[in-house]
């Protein structure tokens, strides 16, 4: 007698999978990867490979010998973490520090919570903050972007990021209008001609990736838009109050890790809220904290801290923000 499969409905499945989502994110990061290779040449490739290979290696090691469970390093999640880690460090960071970062990201921030889907904090960001606190000098010496066309293996000259420049200048009592002359221009921010972590420099490349992820429905608009709008409005108000003390909002949008954070880090499914309302609040919180840290904090950049702080609030946000239940509203419009 022929045996047929018995299972509960539904009997068909959409073709979405964790793998597709993860590799979709990887594709979305390609433009930023290319820009960083263009500006930081060999060093970008070195950091990228080190971060990716060590992330995959640590995940394999922990799954195989510590947890002794199935090895799932091909699901793409460790690959994404590795690339994001590389994106979040300066390209001249010593190699062993990148490897330590990967161990922190995969071992501490991801696997110790139970692996994929269980972590509270974005693994790459945990690693970045760990490295920033442990190796403050190496993590804040930014190589000046040097187009690949001007020679491979060129000598690395380091300099501050635009945000660092502004912070130091203001501390030294200079005014914004004076500092403006030392800063790169908006076109430079867009194409990536500025100091910074490997993946964060080119606004255009990041936005391209963001559009791709929106199109592929890997991310939704709520988190990035609420972050960017909050940053723009908050920094805009301060700028209107005193343009000599506070730099303009467009500068805040285009510099530092804001676009990388808003499009690729805060949108991490695992560590962001489940409902639209929750996501908007999450984004608002990140935007607010970013500007607070950038302007009044000890560090020139605050996106990583802001995202991690809001990551911690996600379980609470999920409790408070429920989807609109069908039929929950008692009012019924008869005869509509």
């Amino acid at each position: 007698m022929t045996m047929f499969t018995i299972a509960g409905s539904p009997h068909i499945h959409g073709d979405d999978s964790t793998k597709k989502i993860m590799y979709g994110v990887v594709i979305a990061m390609v433009p930023a990867m290319l820009v960083s290779i263009y500006y930081f040449d060999f060093n970008a490739i070195r950091v990228l490979l080190l971060a990716v290979i060590s992330s995959l290696f640590f995940e394999w090691l922990i799954q195989k010998y510590l947890i002794k469970g199935p090895v799932t390093i091909t699901d793409g999640s460790a690959l994404v973490t590795g690339i994001l880690l590389a994106f979040n460090v300066p390209t001249n960071l010593p190699g062993w520090m990148v490897i330590v970062g990967a161990l922190v990201a995969i071992g501490m921030a991801k696997m110790s919570f139970g692996g994929l889907g269980k972590n509270i904090f974005n693994p790459a960001l945990v690693a970045r903050v760990f490295l920033l606190i442990s190796f403050p000098v190496e993590m804040t010496s930014w190589p000046k972007p040097m187009p690949i066309t001007k020679g491979f293996f060129a000598d690395v000259i380091t300099g501050p990021t635009p945000l660092g420049l502004v912070k130091e200048g203001l501390r030294a009592g200079e005014s914004i209008s004076k500092l403006q002359s030392e800063l790169p221009g908006y076109v430079d921010y867009l194409i990536g001609q500025m100091g910074g972590s490997m993946g964060e420099v080119s606004a255009i490349a990041l936005i391209l990736g963001g559009i791709y992820m929106l199109w592929k429905k890997i991310i939704t608009w709520e988190i990035p838009v609420s972050i960017l709008v909050t940053v723009f409005v908050f920094s805009g108000i301060l700028w209107l109050v005193n343009p000599e003390k506070y730099i303009d909002p467009v500068f805040h949008l285009l510099t530092g890790g804001l676009l990388l954070g808003a499009l690729f880090m805060a949108t991490d499914m695992v560590t962001s809220p489940m409902t639209r309302g929750g996501q908007l609040l999450f984004g608002f919180g990140i935007g607010l904290l970013t500007i607070l840290i950038r302007i009044w904090g000890a560090y020139p950049e605050g996106v990583s801290f802001a995202i991690l702080l809001m990551n911690a609030a996600v379980p609470l946000i999920n409790r408070g923000f429920k989807p609109r239940r069908f039929g929950a509203k008692p009012g019924v419009q008869l005869g509509s």
Binding site: F4, T5, H13
Partner: protein, 446 residues
């Protein structure tokens, strides 16, 4: 056509695969033996009124309603009652049924077998409801709720709209589509009968825009009917769910835990509406129905008019046989249908289709960890959080499942369909619904 109406919350777009939408309904020969399960409706099973050895005619009452929420059953064939015994039904369980050996096809004399269309409805509301009750009509979209019960709103509730469900949002299925094309006039008369029974002035026929021929046909037939409106709807699953359909056509929301009558609506499937026409105007009880037989490897995807009790193997034979690569047989559509254990189970009143899935389509993908993508929440048409309900049910936190409205789940399967981690969310939700349902019942008893 402008902006098409649809429901607001959630929904998915599975591949439509309406392979048999152009195939006219074909009447199948009477089976040599009819297996008639006694539990064909939601509610209490029916009680047999014949015994072994009795001679029965086609359309003769063989089992009567076993309670208020139950339905009569009529013999689908003429012949001799062979036995009243357990038979395997579509659930795969052995349950009581009546087996009849066919001898000829002699119909009960009271049935009008002519092709004449009877347009005038000469009966009062009470007479109509009684006729529908006698004819054993149940919801033929698959829910199998006894139709006459829906036509008797509880005291204090009043319907103002009859909504005819021609959505057929399940992929593959085309029985309602064909019925609307071939029995349009009867469906319109059936609609009027239902309006009269409920004493309502307005009716709406909701049809998804992937059936433009049915929309045009019924619009044409109702052009002189001021009170019957055909509403084309944007294609979105699960629009055929009562609550979603009411939301789509009237923008009314049935409150949580309540029935459509709460917002003045009674929803009937087009197949049911056709059966109502036949019962009231032709005196013909429900003993046959249109069943789609389909699947990607099926040689001749078809729509058959089959007697209740016909083994589905006969339907598959008529569609030129079981494909070699069949791995799963589904009674109903791929989103909400039930997997059948074998081809020996009979056609029942709620069977809208037989879907033969290929071996490679028959297995679930391996489950991986939830990545909290929130896609399940975004597609849930009831605004629930399937990931949370599934987790609560899995670990036995039924209080959480109840508070988070697990009982509102309509089991449409959209969450499981969309889940990138291939988590069997609906399995867990059904478990949760079952447990929470028991908890609520026990609480009420105290």
């Amino acid at each position: 056509m402008g902006v098409l109406k649809t429901f607001v919350l959630g929904g998915v777009h599975p591949e439509e695969n309406k392979l048999s939408s152009n195939v006219p309904i074909e009447a199948l020969p009477v089976p040599e033996q009819a297996i008639v399960p006694l539990g064909q409706n939601l509610g209490a099973p029916s009680k047999p009124v014949v015994s072994k050895g009795d001679k029965v005619k086609t359309g003769q009452l063989i089992a009567e309603a076993g309670g208020f929420i139950s339905a009569n059953i009529h013999s689908p064939v003429s012949g001799t009652v062979l036995k009243i015994d357990n038979v395997v039904d579509m659930t795969g369980f052995r349950r009581p049924g009546i087996v009849i050996k066919t001898e000829g096809d002699e119909w009960d004399e009271s049935i009008d077998r002519s092709d004449d269309l009877i347009t005038e409805v000469d009966y009062s509301a009470e007479e109509i409801i009684e006729k529908i009750k006698q004819a054993g009509i149940v919801g033929m979209g698959g829910a199998t709720f006894p139709t006459y019960v829906k036509l008797m709103p509880p005291p204090g509730k009043k319907a103002d709209h009859v909504i005819i469900n021609g959505v057929e949002c399940e992929p593959y299925l085309t029985s309602d589509h064909r019925l609307m094309l071939e029995k349009g006039q009867e469906i319109i008369i059936g609609t009027k009968i239902l309006m009269k029974a409920l004493k309502v002035a307005q009716a709406i026929i909701g049809i998804e825009s992937n059936k433009p021929d049915a929309i045009n046909h019924l619009t044409e037939l109702t052009k002189n009917e001021e009170n019957i409106k055909v509403v084309p709807l944007k294609v979105k699953y699960p629009q055929g769910g009562e609550k979603q359909l009411i939301k789509a056509v009237l923008n009314r929301e049935v409150p949580s835990g309540k029935l459509p009558i709460e917002v003045g609506c009674v929803v009937q499937n087009v197949g049911t509406t056709f059966a109502v026409y036949e019962a009231v105007q032709k005196n013909k009880p429900l003993f046959e129905r249109v069943v789609t037989v389909t699947g990607k490897s099926v040689k001749k995807p078809s729509n058959f008019l089959a007697r209740i009790g016909t083994p589905i193997s006969k339907l598959v034979d008529a569609a030129e046989g079981l494909p070699d690569d069949t791995g799963k047989i589904i009674g109903g559509g791929p989103m909400m249908g039930k997997a059948l254990p074998s081809l020996d189970v009979p056609v029942v009143k709620g069977a809208s289709g037989i879907l033969l899935m290929r071996e490679q389509e028959s297995h679930r993908k391996p489950e991986s960890p939830c990545i909290r993508c929130s896609k399940c929440t975004n597609v849930c048409p009831m605004g629930l959080e399937p990931f949370l309900l599934a987790k609560a049910s899995k670990i036995g936190k039924y209080d959480i499942a109840e508070n988070e409205k697990v009982m509102d789940c309509i089991e449409c399967g959209s969450c499981q369909y969309i889940c990138p981690a291939s988590i069997p969310l609906l399995d867990y939700l059904r478990l949760g619904k079952n447990k929470v349902g028991n908890i609520i019942r026990n609480r009420k008893k105290k």
